[in-house]
Amino acid sequence: MDRDAISQRIAELIAPFNKKGVAIADGTTFAGELEFDSLTVMDFVAAIEDEFDIIISMNQQAEIETYGQLVDAVVKLQG
């Protein structure tokens, strides 16, 4: 999958967690704009991990603040 395809798939996976319907762009922040709390983060990360068959460790999650950073991380983890 290329970056665009991955980005589109992640956007679809965010939808059920995006309760306020915030518009998603590369700069959108999970904690700030999407207001993800720790429980939401856990469920959302599990959904991404299962979709792409990858592990995003807590150590890696700490480096991811925005949607764009998540897409980049998934692209990299997919190899």
């Binding site: 720790s38 068959d53 592990i55 150590n59």
Partner: protein, 404 residues
């Protein structure tokens, strides 16, 4: 613009606390026990209070043999060791309690730490290093999380007690990386147990080492009180059992037992073991005596289970929402609608003369407020009935149950 300082980050907790106290409730996190009468009764705010939130599962704190052993050690060895286990802080008593633990668990090695928190912190942060992976339950105790944070391993949580989620994550770990699966026998917030047999089999099939925290099961779960792994017949597949002296054993301290042939090297490489003073002689003497008595405590175990079943059934019948469908341990968790009403219920129980733990996020799963009850083998059947009555009256007073 006002100047803030380093305490700004605590603003949400300060606001939570102020909000709670503004409702007029007594501070549930500021309780003082003025006098302790027995493992199950203390005087709080001048009132005799039944203790139902102490983790003193086996009621060993006032056992005459335990007390005697402590007094003798205080006389013979003094009030403290003033040193690290690897320097001047290992006395005969420290070796004796480690020998008692080896016997209790039927394992080759035991290493005693100054607290249970330090046992998890030390073992987890030391055995899982850079490039290794720790796969752990999302509802793990703070000491496990802090052990992960202190080490350099990659940390991968999975949904609570979800066997499939754990397996998927194990299978995704890069080939050749070291793997440690961390589980608990009893999860202390809801009082539920883990399907250890299935989980450990999968961990082993995927080449992982397994650490199980049995803090809340030692002494009464399993035929010999060795915990949930013993009860489910998979203790021999556990590489490291973590436990504590501050629950069933009735004093303070933590430990790890293991059959790993190279385990003794941990004494030199585990920093929370090396860089702290060892337990006082009186503490290890009381612990050793208590651990040995717990090996032959079948009748007490049976009575504790009776208490747990009676309280669970009683509270359920009164209409309370509980953390587990059936009693799985000596912890019975009563789910409150929110922190404010949970604190009101806690206070109503204190007025009845009953102490339970009020637990709130982030310690609790899914943002819940809980009234956590931990039973003791020394609670009499009459006390348990009294407790059910107290819950009913407090529940109506605090509006948790419908008015009768």
């Amino acid at each position: 613009m006002s100047m803030g300082d380093l305490f700004d980050k605590f603003a949400p907790v300060i606001a939570m606390r102020e909000g709670l106290l503004a409702s007029g409730v007594t501070d549930p996190f500021g309780l003082v026990m003025e006098k302790v009468i027995s493992p199950t009764v203390a005087v709080c705010n001048g009132r005799e209070t039944i203790l139902l939130g102490t983790y003193n599962y086996m009621g060993m704190t006032f056992d005459p043999d335990v007390i005697d052993a402590g007094k003798r050690a205080l006389d013979d060895f003094g009030s403290g060791t003033t040193g690290s286990r690897v320097l001047n802080g290992t006395y005969a008593g420290h070796k004796a309690v480690e020998a008692a633990l080896c016997e209790f668990y039927g394992m080759d090695h035991a290493m005693v730490f100054s607290t249970g928190y330090q046992a998890n912190l030390g073992i987890i942060s030391t055995i899982a290093g850079k490039g290794d992976y720790i796969v752990l339950d999302i509802d793990s105790h703070a000491s496990i999380w802090d052990g992960c944070k202190m080490g350099d391993a990659e940390v991968v949580p999975f949904k609570h007690n979800d066997i499939e989620a754990m397996e998927k994550r194990l299978k995704r770990i890069p080939e050749g990386a070291g793997k440690l699966v961390v589980l608990e026998g009893v999860y202390s917030m809801m009082g539920d147990i883990a399907p250890l047999k299935e989980m450990i089999a999968i961990a082993k099939a995927n080449g992982a080492m397994v650490l199980v925290d049995e803090a809340h099961s030692m002494g009464f779960i399993g035929p010999n009180g060795r915990g949930v792994a013993e009860d489910q017949g998979c203790l021999e597949d556990v590489d490291f059992v973590i436990g504590t002296f501050s629950k069933s054993v009735g004093t303070v301290g933590g430990f790890c037992v293991s059959n790993h042939p190279k385990f003794e090297i941990m004494r030199l490489v585990c920093r929370p073991y090396v860089f702290t003073a060892s337990l006082p002689p009186s503490v290890v003497a009381t612990a050793a005596t208590s651990v040995r008595k717990l090996m032959h405590a079948g009748n007490k175990r049976a009575h504790l289970w009776e208490n747990s079943r009676t309280l669970h059934a009683g509270l359920k019948a009164k209409g309370f929402q509980l953390g587990t469908e059936t009693p799985q341990s000596a912890i019975i968790s009563v789910i409150m609608p929110d922190l404010e009403r949970g604190a009101a219920m806690w206070e109503a129980l204190m007025h009845e003369g009953l102490y339970v733990n009020l637990a709130r996020p982030p310690a609790t799963p899914a943002g819940m407020t809980l009234l956590r009850c931990s039973l003791c083998a020394e609670h009499s059947a009459e006390q348990v009935q009294q407790i059910i009555g107290m819950f009913e009256r407090a529940g109506r007073a605090a509006g948790i149950l419908p008015q009768g």
